[in-house]
Every structure is written in structure tokens, then in C-alpha cells.
Symmetry: C2
Subunit: 250 residues, 2 copies
């Protein structure tokens, strides 16, 4: 199995290395990831600047290619330039921080998987629900298991999996839930500050309020201690509204 | 009507000004747009850097706020910081270049409208199908008309409109088609070059092959001379695959 691995935390991140160690037990892994962190970069692509690539070692051995671009660039570059054959699976992660709910719009990790899926390759985004002191080992094993499954099972063309893992010991994880995407918007909170030169600036933080009541929704099941697997489709047409729209006289 | 106007070509772009001139005939327009071009930035948001804002004049008069961020940042900043009341409509554009088909994943213009829609505001992305010598006047009139319509008609929560306009004279435009999103992936082509210091780099271009045969698809109808209106929904869950996924034993 040929596996293409990317992320948005950058090629030197802990999460991608933990996942790499598990994935190389089940296939041939090609790592192409941003040369530095590109968190919350969405599905941005780099058209107005050149892309630089360099070989990156980790623990004294060749690990992969660091690219001066985004996760979506990395997948395009890997498939278009580096790999002789299309990968069988594209895996993106493990992200430091959850990517459930409306994060799927902003996340570079999720965009890496979407990019693979747009090319017709079964794809998977993996995220861990913590921002501090991460232990990626359980999520990495989980990622390898689901990677095998999406390579073997039939995935619909144009759909990929978005997986979020609670930051808990394996024994404390309640199970796996197949979920839908939460739709509570990420509320931008802006803190006004003054720079050393006296100019006003703002710093944005994103708050995502989560209700715990409905485990069929990814954000809820995740905080309740479940691994969540959400199938995300690329076709964003609202077909039911399209029918009504046909009656509008523009 | 309170209209929030943004784009991804930047606050000094021609397209946003042409649209502004038409929109101010029908409502109170607040312009918040990136301080420079942010094309193909997707729905990136700026969390790791501060956001700077400045007042921008055009033709000697106050025009709007230029923000050191992305279109999604601009909508969040406008609603979260600048505007006392939520806008009635969010409009993004007019983009220099079409944003049909798989462009909706990469386009900052489309992301600006999606961001408004995530906040529950009727939203609209406008793009013109040319990269050279644009004449935005017809598209701007078209944008104002559709803006009025989405403010008056009931739009489903979580759905916005993605509008593409052919670059033709009004008399040559064949009409308006309500369309679905084209799904042909944008193929990344990489040109290998050598920099002045002898280092290898790549420049990516995006090719989107278009078939003309099915005018129910945005890309096709656009090249065939129609204004296309595609309803894009925010919920990306693949509900039909979700049912099957529930049988997977993970």
C-alpha cells in the first residue's frame, strides 16, 4: 500500500512523526508536508509564489520532503511531481488540536485529506483533541487502523473521513461514533491591544461552544470521550434549495 | 439594508469598487477587505498573528477598512468589532477570475460568503470570468440585483449563493442558469525552474478542464455564456455514506 502523509503543523511536528511510525508498519509511506506550521490555512494553494522543496531528516534518517507551501500544495506536489504512481491512500495529521464541527472549513489538516479525495484517492484526516502535552500514540494506532480500512473498503468517490480522537488513555476512550459534522459556528473573539509603537491591533481567538447532548454530532461525541469519524463530501451543492432557486426570476 | 462587502483581491481591486458603486444604490455598504491580494487563500483565518486595520480612501473619499488578514478574517472582524448591528447581507467580490466548480474550495472570495453564511447571514460570492482587461459593470449590476433578492427571499440557513458572470456584453449573455457545482478537480501543473542562485523550484498553475455539454453544471453553463447561480451548503456531511459507515467495525 502506497501512503501519502501530510499535515498542517509542519514536517517537524510531533503528530506527523507518531503517525508515520504506525503507517510504515502497514505500507510504503511518502511524507510531503509544509516546511513550517500552516495551521488554519484552509485549502489555500500557492499560485503567486514559487514552491521550494527540501529533504528532511528526523532521528538521523530521511523522513520526507518539506515544501514551502500549504497542505493542499503538498498533496498536489506529491502526486504531480514526486510520486511515480498515485498513492493508494492520503492521510493528513495527526493534528495538534481537534478539527470537528466548523473547523473543517479552516483546517489545513482536513484540507490535505480533501485534496486527496478530489483526486479520487481514499483520504483521511486525523486530529487529536488537545493543544498541550500531546500523547499521539493511541491516535496514531487508530489512524493506521482506519487507513487500512479505507484502502480495503469501498469509499464513495468525492468523500473522505475526518477523524477526531479524544486525548485520553485507550482504556478511558468510550468507543467509536460515526458522526455528522457539527454546525455551530466558530465565534471570532477579538482582543484589542496596543503595539510598542502605540498602534492599535487585534488578536483573534476562535471559540467553538459545544453542547454535549447529541452524540450523533462530531463535536459532542468527541467531548463525551468517543473517537469520531465523520464522512465529508466534496460536492457542496444544496440540491434541495437548487429546486426552489429555479423559480427565482433573476 | 446593511451590506457588508469583502473580497480576496484586496481593498484596492477594481472589482470590489465596481460592486460597491452599485450596492450603495440599494443599501448602506460597509467595506472590510484584505489590505492586499489574498487570492486562492481558501477559508484561512489568522490566529497566530495580530490583525492590523487601516482606513482606506478611494477617489478621495473614505471607502472602507483594509485588514492585514484573509476574507474570512474580514467578515469576522467586521461583524465582531466594527459593525454595531449584524449586516443583513454579506457580499464577496467581484473576483477577477471565475470561481466555479472546484474553485469553491480554494477561493477566498467564496470563503468570504461562506463565512457570512456560517453566521446566519444571507451571503453571496460574485466572480467575473476573465483574468485580463476586466469590465465589471454588468457583473456589478447583476450582483446588486441578486443582493436585493437574497435579502428579500428566504434563503435556507447554512446555504449561500456562488455567482459567476461571463465576461461578455449584456446583449451577448444568454441568460441565468441555476446550477450545481462542477466536480472536475483542478489539476496542479508544476513547472520546474532554476533560481538565480542555482536552486531548483517549482511554480504551480491550476488547470480546470471544462466540458460544455451539461448546462446544469456551473463550469459548463458559464463557458456557454450564462450567468450561473450555485447554492452552496455548509453542512458537508455525506449522510448517505454515514449510514453505511455505521456498519464498519473500527
Amino acid at each position: 500500500m502506497r501512503i501519502l502523509l501530510t499535515n498542517d503543523d509542519g514536517i517537524y511536528a510531533e503528530g506527523i512523526y507518531a503517525l508515520y511510525l504506525e503507517l510504515k508498519k502497514i505500507g510504503k509511506v511518502t511524507v510531503v508536508a509544509p516546511d513550517s506550521e500552516r495551521s488554519s490555512i484552509g485549502q489555500a494553494i500557492t499560485l503567486a509564489h514559487p514552491l521550494w522543496h527540501k529533504k528532511v531528516k528526523r532521528n538521523g534518517r530521511f523522513f520526507g520532503i518539506g515544501l514551502s507551501g500549504t497542505p493542499a500544495d503538498c498533496v498536489k506536489f506529491a502526486v504531480g511531481v514526486l510520486m511515480k504512481q498515485k498513492p493508494d491512500v492520503v492521510v493528513s495529521g495527526i493534528n495538534l488540536g481537534h478539527n470537528d464541527g466548523c473547523s473543517v472549513f479552516y483546517s489545513g489538516t482536513v484540507a490535505g485529506a480533501r485534496e486527496g479525495s478530489l483526486m479520487g484517492i481514499p483520504s483521511l484526516a486525523m486530529s487529536l483533541d488537545t493543544f498541550v502535552d500531546p500523547d499521539f500514540r493511541y491516535a496514531a494506532k487508530c489512524g493506521a487502523k482506519i487507513t487500512k480500512m479505507i484502502a480495503q473498503n469501498k469509499m464513495p468517490q468525492g468523500t473522505f473521513l475526518n477523524v477526531n480522537v479524544p486525548h485520553k488513555k485507550a482504556s478511558q476512550i468510550k468507543g467509536v461514533k460515526m458522526t455528522r459534522q457539527g454546525m455551530i459556528p466558530i465565534h471570532g473573539t477579538f482582543r484589542k491591544r496596543i503595539d510598542p509603537g502605540g498602534r492599535e491591533y487585534y488578536w483573534m481567538t476562535g471559540d467553538m461552544p459545544v453542547k454535549k447532548i447529541d452524540d450523533r454530532i462530531d463535536s459532542n461525541a468527541l467531548v463525551n470521550g468517543y473517537v469520531t469519524i465523520t464522512p465529508i463530501q466534496n460536492d457542496q451543492t444544496d440540491y434541495s434549495f437548487l429546486k426552489k432557486l429555479e423559480n427565482w426570476k433573476v
